[in-house]
Symmetry: C2
Amino acid sequence: MAAESQRKATVSSTVEDYLKVVLKIEDMKQRASTSRVARHLEVADATVTDMLRKLKKAGLLEYKPYYGATLTREGRRMAVRILRRHRLLEMFLHQVLGYGWEQVHQEAERLEHAVSDLFISRIDALLDFPSQDPHGEAIPDARGFRQVEDDLCLAEAEPGSYSVRKVTNSDPEFLAYLDRVGLRPATRLSLQEKAPFQGPLKLLPESGREPVYLGLEACRSIFVLPRKDRPPASASAPDGPASREAGTRGSRK
Amino acid sequence: MAAESQRKATVSSTVEDYLKVVLKIEDMKQRASTSRVARHLEVADATVTDMLRKLKKAGLLEYKPYYGATLTREGRRMAVRILRRHRLLEMFLHQVLGYGWEQVHQEAERLEHAVSDLFISRIDALLDFPSQDPHGEAIPDARGFRQVEDDLCLAEAEPGSYSVRKVTNSDPEFLAYLDRVGLRPATRLSLQEKAPFQGPLKLLPESGREPVYLGLEACRSIFVLPRKDRPPASASAPDGPASREAGTRGSRK
DNA sequence: GAAATTTATTAGACTGATCTAAAAATGAGG
DNA sequence: CCTCATTTTTAGATCAGTCTAATAAATTTC
């Protein structure tokens, strides 16, 4: 008998973190090499080599020495489960406990390993089965299905009118800054020029404020949706004027 | 340079568990001996000996070989902090996420080590600063102050009228049973006889149902408050009408 | 395509929390 | 006060996750 194990494999939170990182790297269409994984987790390369071998043995990923790791079906299932927990928790912290979007990541990072499935299903229901977290990232559903997201990275966008879809960077400082200048999911903005190789990119958030200048790196973590109306227009959108105002519950301090 | 350390000592969740257990034992007015701590934590005695020495070195408790441990001021502060988190979390799970009182303990046991102070203060406010958890146990306040509780243990109570104050036993089976027979904090009940050495004690919960019989051990985890009206009376208590139709003596079947 | 550079793996060690088995204190009874 | 049972500690190991330093494979560069 060899094809026995089915469900229930309970893993340490360390293992969950490794799987999460490999998934994240694969999602960015990069190779999950030892050093890349090590950078994400902030551990030594040697530690990762070791761990990847263990995870391979556990059947959670494929591992080719000098190449890197690839999640197996089971490994991906677990990774997506954690991703779901993480994002659902972020949403919960934001909506129910009033956390700012720059505060949710760190807390969710700890809770995702500690809460039970019951907890997750209760907050899912309490939040009415949300499909996105406070940063605009999609929350996988309970079966592990994920929406396909082919968003446009601001760093590659042509001049035009857009709205912010998601921000993939959890640095609190950075998020707090975006918040301050009025850039959050659903914010409308117009872009005058294509992102330069170096130097800041000029944005005009609809919020009417002054232009915002962002470095290339910053732009890489902002994803947008094109809007079908030209940059400097007056009244047009039928779904409400200065909407954006709610969400992003204050707190801070 | 010697009297430096003040706050901030961050400890592992294992250490938190040891402190919690020592506090619990001290609260029961027992000696926190190696083996008693070991039994509570379900680890080997040798492990405890080791750990107690480390905790002593860390200044969290006194430790006398062959005698046991006593929390220091700092150790007690930490232990009470965890107790507060635990009970506040239980209340939160019960009130906000709809957990049954037999489900809250296990989840809180994991969360108490994972949530931040911000999380705790948010749920505290959300629950409107509760003073008791779902089992009727007092929640220490944010400064670490604890209400003095001198409750009467059902195992020692004289016949009379009481109401349930708290239940100190987190076994889900047991709690689910109490729930089924209608015994929970604030339930009124009358006691016909004093707890026997062996055999079940007969209780009459006000909820009108049949008498309930509880073993001595079970009675030890139930604490009650005397009510000021005698068993077989008619009208008297100003805090409720036809309270206790205390008659019902024995009979019923 | 050989040398230089980068990336990855091996080797050896450490830390924290745990265990088992053996030795040593403690404390009760005679 | 001596012996026996109980409780506690010591000794020696294990396991997971991590590190550093040394070595080896892969890749890039000239």
